[in-house]
Symmetry: C2
């Protein structure tokens, strides 16, 4: 066979060991926090039936689904007429029954409906798996990437919002990333729109508010009118645009302004309850009520969350919200849920950028035993076996090649200690351990090393 120059599909990535060790550090941290809060792991298949996926992500989303060609005679039953008179999308639907999952939310909804009789509600699950999108690849945007979702479904209690906020606090505290949590509530946004007489223009209004920091109050007011909001309504909106003070003060002011909107007041009550909980348990994470936070307005129905890193310029590193009808599309209405998703790639970038990965996320093997062959090799193998039983990560260079080559290997692999059992050490029953960082050497007996060795 001809020699091939191998490559991988654009938008996909190989994760080298160095990167994997750091990614695993992030995922393990997140997973262990999820566990402390009683969330359970779930995995769904990479492939779903296209009927499960299609129509869930809008027209653009349907195009971004990776579709899997049917096995065997995939052209069977497809006529020339079908080929010439079908759109690409319609023809793809004939050629493909399955697609790769686009996110973890729709498979989760599908799972809940399919297994509703076995599930104990409220159902608290997390899911850390890759998703695939046939997007145009660019910096920070990939065709395969991990999502890391945590949701509780089947409970309307604001305790769930509290728990998610505490999860955010704990995860980023463990990772060492200083963050700000922005919080909003779709019902409040609706209440504002309703109050000024434009309930149907809630999204337009929110989008305009979102630009306040960038373009200033006058430009926002102009844009609101361009978007068809009357001058009178824009005038009514002014107190909202100039909200100041603590979250409590803002919320009180909002409650006054939208006091005529039942939905709006429900949103104020939800938000107020969340702030009560947060204060009661002493959450230290900074939280900011931000009415311009407009993520997921098409599906969130209550709280909306977004997390920003304070010391690094990047988009949000975590976000989510409450949705009241996740499973309705699969025939199970009235299931309220709330969830958040951690952005693993961005978290990785923040931690790399701020140099936050701890030493134990930089390396794996702790001790490399130099291989001198013969009896020294056998002695090393025996000591290594004992050290591994004690929990140390050890290896021996597999060949008795020149010392320099073995030391180079230790350096390139960032192995912090090298253990040496040469002939004289073997005869004396000793092991010399060299710390690679500064070359410091210590001598141990076998039992000293096995019983007392510590990374220093």
């Amino acid at each position: 066979m001809a020699k091939q120059h191998p490559s991988i599909p654009k938008g996909t990535r190989d994760f080298s060991p160095e990167i994997m060790i750091r990614r695993n550090y992030i995922f393990d941290t997140i997973r262990s926090v999820f566990g402390k809060y009683g969330f359970l792991p779930l995995e769904t298949p990479s492939m779903e039936n296209l009927s499960t996926l299609m129509g869930k992500y809008g027209e653009e989303g349907d195009k971004l689904l990776f579709k899997i060609l049917n096995s065997g005679d995939f052209m069977g039953g497809i006529t020339d007429d079908d080929i010439h008179n079908s759109t690409s999308g319609a023809l793809a639907a004939r050629l493909c029954e399955k697609g790769l999952r686009y996110d973890l939310t729709v498979p989760f909804a599908r799972y809940v409906v399919q297994h509703q009789s076995e599930i104990t509600f409220p159902f608290k699950r997390y899911q850390i798996q890759p998703v695939w999108r046939a997007d145009r690849p660019q910096k920070g945007r990939y065709r395969e990437f991990y999502q890391c979702d945590v949701d509780v479904i089947g409970s309307t209690s604001m305790i769930n919002e509290l728990e998610l906020i505490q999860i955010v606090e704990t995860v980023f505290d463990h990772l060492g990333i200083r963050t700000l949590l922005k919080i909003n509530n779709r019902k409040i946004l609706y209440g504002i729109a309703e109050t000024i007489g434009y309930a149907d223009k809630m999204i337009d209004i929110t989008v305009a508010i979102d630009k306040l920091d960038k373009i200033g109050l006058d430009a926002v007011n102009a844009e609101l009118q361009e978007r068809g909001i009357s001058a009178e309504a824009v005038e009514m909106l002014q107190p909202i645009l100039s909200l100041e003070g603590t979250n409590r003060e803002k919320l009180e002011r909002i409650a006054q302004i939208i006091s005529g909107s039942e939905t709006g007041l429900k949103g104020v009550e939800e938000m107020s309850r969340v702030l009560d909980y947060v204060e009661s348990v002493g959450v230290k994470l900074p939280i900011e009520l931000d009415l311009s936070l407009a993520r997921g307005l098409n599906y969130y129905t209550g709280a909306i969350f977004e997390v920003k890193a304070l010391d690094f310029q990047i988009g949000s590193i975590c976000g989510g919200g409450r949705y009241d009808d996740l499973t309705g599309i699969f025939g199970l209405p009235g299931m309220s849920g709330v969830g958040i998703s951690f952005g693993a790639d961005r978290i990785y970038d923040v931690m790399s950028g701020l140099d936050l990965f701890p030493m134990n996320a930089q390396t794996s093997t702790q001790l490399l035993f130099v291989n001198f062959g013969g009896l020294e090799e056998l002695e090393s193998l025996k000591v290594i076996r004992m050290m591994r039983e004690r929990g140390f990560m050890c290896e021996i260079y597999p060949e008795a090649v020149k010392m320099k080559k073995q030391m180079d290997y230790a350096n390139r692999r960032s192995i912090p200690y090298v253990a040496i059992i040469g002939e004289s050490e073997r005869v004396e029953g000793k092991i010399v351990v060299k710390r690679m960082a500064d070359g410091e050497q210590k001598s141990y007996t076998v039992s000293e090393l096995v019983d007392e060795f510590k990374l220093y």
Copy 2:
């Protein structure tokens, strides 16, 4: 939109939390052992270019690849003539550039060649990821399943074989599965075939030997002749078919018989070296030299391994071997490697069948706090926060519903302890903890619970 009855593609699986916790227990155990031996994690993309995958798994394998329909105008440039006069395979190659990986070995080989200048050799990597095969689904055979591979590439030392044997020993020791490791060497099989004058019939001879236990010596001899081996050659084979004794005794006998085959003697030397190492370091795993072990004869070139569970009827639960030219197909010849693969699904079945999962692989949340609402709820939330900081996995029922419903939840979720802060407990600063297994209750102050609580 019409109500849908959701399902998943045949041959795929949802892994419920109960199953995931157990699967993670297996994967975490394996991963931690790999780490102790200095193996590093690697992940490659789910999709590879079809040019990377095609032709690597035989004609049948090519048909079992899941192919991904090109995005956008996938019919562009395909004429009616192409459609009518191409085979399914040829047309699929026009419609699809990418496919889902079929195993982890070919992507590993591709990775090594593509990144050879960055890799420190010998390269010790493990990879735990799903693979996909468009096989007909049946009991124990899935279209998506995890593989769990550990390989070292770039070293011919038999220390690598030793390390893999120790990994097998340690993994199954940690999991509590009693196992037998069968070991063979392709060079010995070749030596036998060469010695009796049928070097070209090595696989036929091995397949026949493999039936010895099932059909008996006479039938095997008859089959050998049917397969074109002369009576004289079959006669020469008799000492091989009646090998008895320890591994050392068998190996000595083999060495005498195939003393005219250079390759065969190289195999004996390799096997002998492995047995030396195994004895020197005191491996306790039972190891059996088994000449009928014939897995992977098309690609293995040295040692062949297979692991059987001793107390449970199932196929091999782990296997592997040495290959001398994994990366040649991608243009990097002369890279010898050796690796094994753990069968996660079968290991799961063995552990379920023998009831080997420990308690901490059965449950997640350790303490459920009953929710009585009001001040009691707030007090619970505060105590939970402290307990989580101490590392306990806790949750509170999110609504203050009837006690019975909350206890049912604890039971259905197999949560072992329920913590109760009712009004009287709150006033007295107490917490009552009930052990669900036997209903035993203990009373704690907050600081007693936080500082002293242990699972009992």
